[in-house]
């Protein structure tokens, strides 16, 4: 097995997505992982703990996801590059530490391996944690959310997640899923020369109150205006990073009468379906938000201003569709969904639905 930190040359490997995430975290410069067992996330911990042993990094198995999240934040506050990973009901519990990270602008990285819900659901797969990832918690969803679609992207975007989190100081989520977590796929791993470096929020040199002011970090505010002013700054900062952080992919959106929109692993099927239909001469395009937060609305707005039909394809009952509808509110176009909560979607299914929509146009 390749050792990314010691391997200067790019190397081809055949890993599960969870292995790719753990190795990417090491490559990025992560120093601490705290976690609690839940399927389909477990192999991120399994891989990390072995790598941590090898490289002198830290791992803590906590009593629950609350503790995993908050202990990760403790590591971040102490200045370490730290992350956690979870899924399903664990993602629900993770909202509490994520809210604290939003309130204190703590650069925590959380890898979410979506499983079927609600509740215990299945351990297998879904895309039902989009709203939780983007807007869970009692707040405003001030998070960056990446939705990788391949193992190469899991590796690339996990590294990027640490970089973006520490650069902009917003909690950052890598939104994986059970399929990506468990299947094996070829990818190229590489060493990161410019690893992410943490910065301490507490425990800096000097006696507080004597040599320097103490760091007094809080989540609580007394006055409405106090909180409002703080959040106004935060939301402005979040809007400002949108053009730099927002990412998308598209194929042939210009002139597309039917635009197929998907995210994460489903984009594989969506793209295959679009290529097949285009091969047959249909005016079909493809769009994929790589970041679900901030949502990259610009290309979509350009397309929507021309009108047409959009087919949102997702393994959920309309969570991505809700993001799209909000981003394109006021534009005149037809919004359709191929919505399969908790199950995979094949190119054939998409092609069949798309043909029906094209025929009806």
């Amino acid at each position: 097995m390749a050792i990314t930190q010691q391997s200067p040359r790019p190397e081809r490997v055949f890993w599960t997505g969870n292995e790719a995430v753990a190795w990417a975290a090491v490559a990025a410069g992560a120093e601490i992982m705290c976690g609690y067992p839940i399927t389909p996330q477990n192999e991120i911990m399994h891989t990390w703990v072995r790598l941590a042993h090898q490289y002198g990094l830290d791992f803590l198995q906590t009593e629950d996801e609350l503790s995993a999240g908050f202990a990760t934040l403790g590591g971040v506050l102490a200045g370490k590059v730290a992350f956690t990973a979870t899924a399903g009901p664990g993602t629900v519990l993770m909202q509490e530490p994520l809210s604290m990270a939003e309130m204190m602008r703590l650069p925590v990285v959380v890898v979410v391996c979506q499983r079927g819900g609600p509740s215990t659901g299945t351990v297998i797969y879904s895309q039902q944690e989009v709203m939780l990832a983007c807007f869970g918690g009692n707040g405003e969803g001030l998070r960056v959310v990446y939705a990788p679609a391949t193992h190469q992207e899991l590796y690339d975007y996990t590294i990027k997640a640490f970089r973006v989190a520490w650069k902009y100081r917003f909690p950052t989520i890598v939104l994986s899923d059970g399929y990506q977590a468990k299947m094996r796929e070829a990818l190229t791993v590489y060493r990161v020369e410019d690893q992410v470096r943490g910065e301490a929020y507490v425990g800096r040199p000097g006696v507080p109150g004597v040599a320097r002011p103490p760091a007094h970090l809080r989540n609580t505010y007394n006055l409405e205006e106090e909180l409002y002013d703080l959040l106004a700054n935060y939301t402005t900062a979040f809007q400002e990073i949108q053009p730099r952080v927002g990412e998308w992919q598209e194929e042939d959106w210009q002139g597309a009468e039917l635009l197929v929109v998907a995210h994460g692993v489903v984009t594989r099927a969506a793209r295959a379906a679009v290529r097949e239909l285009r091969g047959e001469g249909y005016p079909v395009g493809y769009f994929r938000p790589v970041t679900l937060r901030p949502f990259p609305a610009e290309v979509l707005r350009r397309w929507a201003s021309l009108g047409g039909t959009m087919l949102v394809v997702e393994s959920a009952a309309g969570q991505l569709r809700r993001l799209v509808a909000e981003a394109l509110a006021g534009y005149g176009f037809r919004l359709e969904g191929l919505l399969r909560p908790g199950v995979g979607i094949t190119p054939e299914e998409i092609v069949a639905v798309a043909r029906g929509l094209l025929a009806a146009n």
């Binding site: 803590l60 908050f70 507490v202 006696v207 507080p208």
Partner: protein
């Protein structure tokens, strides 16, 4: 005033007669005596304890629901040279965040928890706490706490010691005896500094606002009524149920030290 207090934030924000400032005085003096102001990180929780977020000239972090414990756990593991203190109330430590207290004791996490037990949820307006005494009237037990229906008061230090065994220093002091409380807090901090495991001090505390008591009655409550349910002293030794092994002798020893 302890040197480690932030004087510009005084007078503090607690109600008249509140026990928190006395518990925080014990902590402040312990920090001064051990000369560790440059190494201590103070974490406080939700409820009245959050009012201490800028109380000290110590780097301080405020969170909620007893999660102050895992925040300090993560911090300590990240930077073992720091001395991490989690300060919270009985609701955070014994109810909504009890799993963190239990697990920190079991894992011998090298942090110190100082918990104020005033037998009530104070900031939220006086509801029953895990520590509410049998018969005590609160907003959610207006006819008195009935142990048949809601169980007996939680005994935290005993539980922590029972769970963690030798790796745990556990004691219960009271704001009615700050010198003894300071002594326990110092022992707890030393326990952490010497890498001996988890340390936990409960401070019996007062809440005249929610107890709806006058000065004399408040003091009667914390000096006499509470210790009858929550024995003062250090916990450990060979007592199988985790109760104080020899609380009285410990009391004398604690009271005699500066």
């Amino acid at each position: 005033m302890p040197r480690s207090w932030a004087t510009e934030n005084k007078p503090h924000r607690f109600c008249p007669g509140c026990g928190h400032p006395l518990a925080l005085k014990a902590l402040g003096e312990a920090v001064d005596d051990l000369d560790i102001q440059g190494r201590v990180i103070f974490g406080c929780d939700i409820g009245c304890s959050l009012l201490a977020w800028d109380f000290f000239n110590l780097d301080s972090v405020q969170t909620h629901h007893g999660r102050t414990i895992p925040v300090m756990v993560g911090m300590k593991r990240a930077r073992p040279g720091l001395i991490c203190v989690a300060y919270m109330g009985d609701g955070g430590g014994y109810a909504i965040g009890a799993q963190h207290l239990v697990s920190a004791a079991l894992r011998h996490e090298q942090i110190t928890v100082l918990l104020a037990n005033n037998s009530i949820y104070a900031m939220t307006g006086g509801q029953m706490a895990p520590t509410t005494l049998p018969g005590q009237k609160t907003e959610t037990t207006p006819f008195g706490r009935d142990p048949e229906k809601t169980g007996r008061p939680t005994r935290g230090p005993e539980m922590a010691r029972l769970l963690g065994g030798e790796g745990v220093y556990a004691a219960r002091g009271t704001v009615a005896n700050v010198r003894q409380l300071k002594n326990y807090v110092k022992k707890a901090l030393r326990h952490q500094m010497e890498g001996r495991g988890f340390s936990f001090v409960e401070a019996l505390s007062t809440c005249p606002t929610n107890w709806r008591t006058g000065a004399a009655e408040t003091w009667e409550w914390v000096e006499k009524k509470m210790p009858a349910e929550f024995p003062l002293g250090e916990f450990g030794g060979d007592a199988p149920d985790g109760r104080a092994s020899r609380p009285e002798s410990v009391l004398r020893e604690g009271g005699g030290e500066g």
